[in-house]
């Protein structure tokens, strides 16, 4: 059983990552990742929706007939997003102003509907909950990575305005990496999002290949060792 959860975690964060493997949810990804803080905020909001939608849809999967499943999923997700939207407006108002339109647009995030359809509607409650959490964390990871890369290249800072998101204790996260940086506007603009995402995808595949080679080398070394003994 624990093996099963490990599999879910590995899928969500790396192997079947929403952005890096499934290439879903690119619209909010490219729109809000001008800074790492925005990426983190958006990622956490999406994660909350994914966990809750995983829970609810898994809970009701016995009574949702296949014919009406898509409208029902959309309705559940829309309710959850409205909750998240209003809560963020109430408690992290400054971040809500920055992310603005993209919070309500989580409804149309195909990744959430995708997980509801392909996982939560066919699995028990706990795994669905965990899958939502891991997929959300994987999405957050991608958003923060892309946001950090674009922020460092584009404006020379890292986690600027993190205090808006996490409270004043997070001010230590706000770094100005390159003093007197003139800014690289292209990276902040949407084309820069595509460019940096492309390089991140290439980087992920490169890492996968390196890990694969190392694993193969280890396996063959073990095989020769066991055949000798």
């Amino acid at each position: 059983m624990s093996n099963d959860y490990r599999r879910i975690a590995k899928d969500g964060i790396w192997d079947n990552n929403i952005v890096f493997a499934q290439a879903l949810a690119l619209c909010p990804l490219l729109a809000v990742t001008g800074t790492a803080s925005n990426g983190l905020g958006m990622g956490l909001a999406s994660t909350a929706v994914m966990i809750a939608s995983g829970l609810l849809i898994s809970l009701f999967r016995g009574i949702i007939t296949p014919q009406v499943r898509i409208p029902v999923f959309v309705l559940i997700i829309a309710v959850l997003v409205t909750l998240v939207d209003l809560s963020m407006n109430a408690w992290v108002h400054d971040l809500h102003k920055v992310l603005g339109l993209f919070i309500p647009l989580i409804v149309t995030n195909c990744a959430i509907l995708g997980r509801a359809e392909s996982y939560a509607s066919r699995n028990r409650i706990l795994p669905s909950l965990f899958d939502g959490l891991m997929m959300g964390l994987g999405f957050t990871l991608a958003l923060v990575l892309l946001g950090a890369a674009r922020e460092i290249l584009g404006s020379g800072t890292l986690f600027a305005d993190a205090a808006l998101l996490l409270g004043s204790w997070a001010a230590f996260l706000e770094l100005e990496l390159i003093p007197d940086y003139k800014g690289f506007l292209l990276i902040i603009l949407p084309p820069g999002g595509f460019l940096v995402l492309g390089f991140l995808l290439a980087g992920k595949r490169l890492l996968d290949r390196l890990f694969g080679q190392r694993r193969a080398a280890l396996a063959s070394a073990e095989a020769t060792a066991s055949s000798r003994s």
Partner: protein, 361 residues
């Protein structure tokens, strides 16, 4: 797989190769480049060298990463030409990092990401030029009046090192607007053309290159000679340059005749900015322009139209780079619809029917 024996036929060998093509283009660019370097002095030479060196280093690094053989691809001159063309579109006194970032954008993002030479959709030098212009508007629009090498006003060797590689504050003293920039600003303020053109170089100055601008925007005459040399050597055909300059001149003439006070005349359009450089050296890039003759005419005319539209009505004073990239994006479409007729078939690809085979005449 069947190994086919090569047939001994009456073939002649054209001796064309990538290296030879690139070499001839570089040769054609050489006079205008040398003159531009002379006009703008040591800072221009440093920037030129830095840009080309960075382009070669990025090319070698990308080839290595991609697991290709480095030497043959590096020595075919394509990266050298890209860096060279990019340097010619930069303001001559720009700081060194403009050249390096530009070389990265051109070689890595504009060319190698697509798969290297022959695979890129857009002209690499123009990708870099546009990305730089959008990212660093200040540095990319700070032009200087020419101060020829060894003349009294020219900065010395060490001062020039400071201009290109250091933090120099003396730039403001010599900055000046390009012809197109000045005309656009003045016309935008509602000043009549006759008054506005008082502040810019005369047509003869534009022809010879004694006006401020990018390194390659200077001498229209030398660039034209280089372009004609390329046509003579059959590296490029006349279709794209003529269609581009022709449509640009035609539009400029029409609007100038309609309202001479607010539209710049055709000669100024042709001789200023990057029109000549773009027509002969950039729009004719073999990789990113259409294959067929009719396609090339359409491509050139489209570039000319866009250049005129951007220069006249859009936010930027010069539009050759944008125009070439927009038409680059249309190239696959043009190639799809304007295919040359295959020998023995009609335009739709159906075999021709002949009377002696029983078909209709």
């Amino acid at each position: 797989m069947i190994e086919e024996q090569p047939v001994a036929g009456p073939y002649t060998h054209a001796r064309t190769s990538i290296g030879r093509t690139m070499g001839l283009v570089l040769l054609a660019l050489l006079p205008a480049t040398l003159y531009g370097l002379y006009l703008f002095g040591w800072p221009a030479i440093f920037l030129f060298g830095t840009t080309i060196l960075a382009a070669l280093i990025f090319e070698a690094g990308s080839l290595r990463l991609a697991g290709k053989r480095v030497r043959p691809f590096l020595l075919d001159g394509s990266a050298l030409l890209t860096g060279w063309l990019l340097a010619m579109t930069l303001p001559p006194w720009a700081p060194w990092w403009i050249g390096v970032v530009g070389a990265f954008l051109a070689i890595v993002i504009g060319k190698q990401v697509f798969g290297g030479i022959g695979q890129n959709l857009f002209n690499p030098a123009m990708v870099a030029r546009v990305a730089l212009l959008i990212s660093f508007p200040l540095e990319m629009t700070l032009f200087h009046a020419p101060v020829p090498l060894f003349s009294a006003q020219a900065p010395g060797f060490l001062d020039s090192l400071a201009i290109t590689f250091g933090q120099s504050d003396q730039l403001d003293a010599v900055s000046s607007a390009t012809t197109l920039d000045h005309l656009k600003t003045e016309l935008g303020r509602g000043v009549a053309l006759e008054t506005a053109s008082g502040g810019v170089g005369s047509l003869s100055q534009l022809t010879l290159g004694e006006a401020s601008g990018s390194l390659g925007e200077t001498s229209a005459l030398l660039l034209l000679l280089g372009g004609l040399f390329l046509i003579h050597k059959r590296i490029i055909t006349w279709h794209i340059p003529l269609a581009m300059l022709g449509s640009l001149a035609l539009l400029a003439t029409i609007f100038h005749l309609i309202d001479p006070q607010s539209y710049v005349g055709p000669l100024t359009h042709l001789l200023s900015g990057a029109a000549i450089l773009g027509a002969f050296f950039i729009a004719t890039d073999l990789v990113t322009s259409p294959v067929s003759i009719r396609g090339q005419l359409l491509f050139g005319a489209g570039v000319g139209l866009l250049v005129y539209a951007i220069r006249t009505w859009a936010g930027y004073p010069e539009g050759v780079a944008f125009a070439v990239m927009l038409m680059n994006a249309c190239t696959p479409l043009i190639d799809h619809y304007l295919k040359p007729r295959i020998y023995g078939r009609d335009r739709k690809g159906e075999p021709l029917t002949y009377a002696d085979e029983g078909g209709e005449v």
